[in-house]
Amino acid sequence: YALVGYYWQKKNLTYRIVRTTPQLSPYVVHDAIRRAFNVWSDVTPLTFTEKFHGEADIMIDFLWGFHGDGNPFDGPGNTLAHAFFPGPRRGGDTHFDEEEKWTMTKEGANLFQVATHEFGHALGLGHSSEHNTIMGPFYRYRDPLQLTEDDIRGIQQLYGAPEERRPKQPLTPVATQKPNFQPNHPEHVPNTPERPPQRPPVHTPDRRPHTPNHPATPPDTCFPSIDAVAVIRSELFVFKDRHFYRYHDKGLYPGYPAMTSRFWRSLPRGTHVDAVYERYDGKIVFFKDAQYWVFDGNYLESSYPRPIRDYGLHVQSVDAAFVWGHNGKTYFFKGNRYWRYDDIEKKMDRGYPKNIDRWEGVPNNLDGIMQWTDGLTYFFKGTKYWRFNDITMRVEEGYPRSAPHDWFGCRKVLGTPNDRD
């Protein structure tokens, strides 16, 4: 690793995304940036807080060509991004070349992965000559992205190892944290393995091998309907009755389903949730009847639950909630109406509720809505789901399709008279 001689003399840093790229939804950009900072905060005592106004320690922008810092971008290919080493004014600032093809996949330039590298510079690391490190100068898509020993030694040379603190980001199964966990306890899910669920890897959900101790009979995921769906830390979470199902890109994590109220304690026991969404700041918000709960990871924030009228929602419950990446606003659906809420300004937008028919092709009385990591919006009701095109503002052709088959790992195509056979 290489240290450049500059580092931040404080541990709590702020960042601000000045502009996002139109190639990705704002939600996806904010999520990618937040996760990239998490990679470094996981191995140091540093914290990163997003600001939405004014100056921040690390100003992040998408720019092209000559952009006033003496280090012009060169168009598509070659140079993808650069960052300034820690210091006042421009120090820490991170620029992405708008003319690259930014993605969240292995095609083009993966924003999360490039950002992780650039933030290494913004924290004081130079390029490592050690091959395969995150801080190597050449872009290479990694699946999954993980810091190497060289990267960790470098950053910890500057800031030290993480202090003992309440975990903020990881979503850890409660069972792994409870030494007195009793797998045969009646509250435990019937089809969970005989061993406590193992801790899923943080931020590396997509290459976890199935454990040999996993029971041979997989859980039934052919849901006739779901209660709520959410994308949390870029993973799919499905809520059904008292349980939730957590998916990586190859299917359900071992050890799931798990009981929702055992993972997010303080939620009402033995019941379902109405809606769940991940807020812009990474907090997870649950709705049940006329109340809502805000969690930091799986820790309840103080003073919750609160009434949903805080949101300006004068209804007894909501059907679904999600953040629409198209504009970063939070939407609530109930029956044939929907509301638009500004989570940053903390106020309901004027003129709402409106009729759901503005979302052309989307049915009433939805079960759940989520924006997937592909930047597209998906609506769920019963066994069906609809993919929505944010540009044409209508459901895409070929939808609805079978949600259990396409999303939940059910091998049957539901919707036929004998579909439960």
Binding site: N71, F73, N78, A81, P137
Partner: protein, 86 residues
């Protein structure tokens, strides 16, 4: 230098530009640069790229120079310092 490194003048020129841009070579007068300095710069760049350190602007090395990368210099204190002086 092109004949020593067995490359075309165009490839040499591109290579030198790249090596200067990312800090492997000082941004001073090209005519004052020795072949040995150039070879050492290429070897250092090859090390960063995980290539065999041949010191030659071979096909793999030229290909590496086309690879998408970070815009921050690899060697801090040469090109950067020179730029500041100017």
């Amino acid at each position: 230098a092109a004949s020593i490194l067995n490359v075309t003048n165009a490839d040499l020129s591109k290579g030198v530009d790249y090596l200067m841009k990312f800090g492997y070579l000082k941004q001073d007068d090209r005519k004052m640069r020795t072949g040995e300095e150039l070879r050492e710069a290429i070897m250092t760049m090859q090390r960063f790229g995980g290539l065999d350190e041949t010191g030659q602007l071979d096909a793999d090395t030229l290909q590496l120079m086309q690879t998408p990368r970070c815009g921050v210099a690899d060697i801090i204190g040469t090109a950067e310092t020179t730029r500041r002086k100017r």
